[in-house]
């Protein structure tokens, strides 16, 4: 009886040792060796790469009341976005764009048709660059265009390097769309998530020689999320093709159209007020069958509120990630 009990105890002891051994093997061995499964990626243990899709829309917009004054106290639930027909009320974030860094390209038309106002334009541009209130991280570039091409006078650091005598009134034809194409390309190359690209365009809008089409430029502007502030320097008070072009560029991009007749101080104040009063909202990219999403912002309660933003955006795939354009 006693020997049976002892042998049973020894067997039990052996069994527990085997179990402990098995437990150690199980915990210390890599899982694929334990299960005898061949690993497809023998070296990936420490360099695992996770892929995810970027699906966020960032939108800068402006809200005004019935007197056309900027609304200072706008709340997240005061507006809804109609994105490709879908009504969106849930936003990831909602902030004032004053905290967003600006990447501004000032474009000066120096062609024949604007020469009568050239002096005033260069004075305005100089005042805008040197006397306006910019954040320390804002980037300012200046492009002038006339004849057959556009010239980049200074890039990103014009607050320190721009000189008025760099802009020469050369006359000749107006390559407006080519110049816009160049400016937008520059902005796209520098594109960052928290940078708001803006073009301040001083021109009469009357393109006479560009190789680039209006449609191409418009698409590129919408794709880059650039807002255009068009300052019409034409002397004609009638609605011309140039004026219509400038208005369309400003409206479609969510910017503004102003006439030089409004006076330089008012123009510059309006533009700077706008740049400091923009609102930035982000939301999840909604599903859509098309790459182009039209956008409209509408009030949720107060129908007197007016909203201004770009007409739409393109959601394109870059590699495996789906990415929406900048703010």
């Amino acid at each position: 009886m006693t020997s049976n009990f002892v042998s049973a105890a020894i067997r039990c002891n052996r069994l527990s040792r085997v179990l402990v051994l098995l437990f150690l093997v199980a915990t210390l061995s890599p899982p694929d060796r334990l299960l005898a499964l061949p690993s497809n990626h023998p070296d990936e243990s420490s360099d695992v790469t996770y892929h995810s899709t970027v699906s966020e829309v960032r939108l800068v917009f402006f809200a005004t009341d019935e007197r056309n004054h900027n609304v200072q106290q706008l709340q997240k639930d005061d507006f809804a976005i109609v994105d490709d027909e879908r009504v969106i009320r849930e936003f990831r974030s909602f902030t004032r764009s004053a905290s967003v860094k600006l990447d501004v390209v000032v474009m000066i038309d120096s062609s024949e048709s604007v020469l009568p106002h050239f002096q005033q334009v260069t004075t305005d541009v100089s005042r805008l660059i040197f006397q306006s209130v910019w954040n320390s991280q804002d980037l300012i570039s200046v492009i002038s265009f006339s004849g057959m091409e556009a010239h980049l006078l200074c890039s990103e650091n014009c607050r320190t390097s721009f000189r008025v005598d760099q802009v020469v009134p050369t006359g000749g034809a107006t390559p407006l769309l080519d110049a816009l194409d160049l400016a937008t390309t520059q902005l796209i190359h520098r594109r960052q998530q928290d940078v708001w690209p803006v073009i301040l365009l001083f021109s009469d809008g009357d393109d006479t020689i560009s190789k680039t089409s209006f449609r191409h430029v418009r698409e590129k502007i919408l794709e880059s999320g650039t807002q255009i502030y068009a300052i019409d320097v034409s002397s004609s008070k009638r609605l011309s093709n140039g004026t219509a072009t400038l208005q369309r560029l400003a409206d479609d991009s969510g910017g503004r159209y102003v006439g030089l007749a409004d006076g330089p101080v008012k123009i510059l104040n309006d533009v700077m007020d706008d740049l400091h009063s923009g609102l930035l909202v982000t939301y999840v990219l909604p599903q859509s069958t098309s790459e182009f999403h039209s956008i409209r912002i509408l009030p949720t309660h107060n129908l007197n509120l007016q909203f201004r933003c770009r007409r739409g955006y393109y959601s394109r795939r870059f590699g495996s990630a789906r990415q929406e354009d900048g703010p």
Binding site: E85, Q287, L298, T300, L303
Partner: protein, 143 residues
């Protein structure tokens, strides 16, 4: 003159006030909106039997209004007939039209009803569309 004005004011405001008092408003949420054809709103006796006229090239807002049991597709009569896109809006059916209460303005605005769906059918269709779009997205991503 004053009495006349008061009477006119009462006649205008009483229907919506009564509607609010007796709780005959239904609740719903606008989930889709786009600018569509105004022709539906311009249909009528005068258009049908009157002299031929040039078709109006205008666009009117079209909303998909989802209520607990029925989904309505409604069309505005003019291009600027907007309704607030609040989470929940009050509306009621009046003859063949749908009257939406404008919260802040304390009045109603009327829309033509273009289509109606039973909510469960509409939900099923939406699920199907969403699944198809998701599948297309996965397919695109794999290419």
């Amino acid at each position: 003159m004053k009495r006349g004005l008061w009477l006119a004011f009462l006649l205008c405001s009483v229907p919506s006030l009564l509607a609010a008092q007796f709780g005959i408003y239904q609740h719903g949420s606008v989930v889709r909106m786009h600018m569509g054809d105004c022709m539906l709103a311009h249909r009528g006796m005068m258009v049908a039997f009157g002299p031929p006229s040039i078709p109006v090239q205008d666009s009117c807002p079209e909303y998909t209004l989802v209520s607990p049991n029925v989904v309505y597709v409604i069309v505005g009569k003019t291009s600027n007939q907007l309704i607030p896109l609040a989470e929940v809006i009050d509306f009621r059916l009046q003859k063949n039209e749908l009257a939406v209460r404008l919260d802040d303005a304390k009045r109603e605005t009327k829309f033509e009803i273009k289509e109606m769906f039973v909510r469960s059918d509409w939900d099923r269709i939406q699920r199907h569309i969403d699944a198809q779009m998701k599948a297309a997205e996965v397919h695109d991503a794999e290419r």
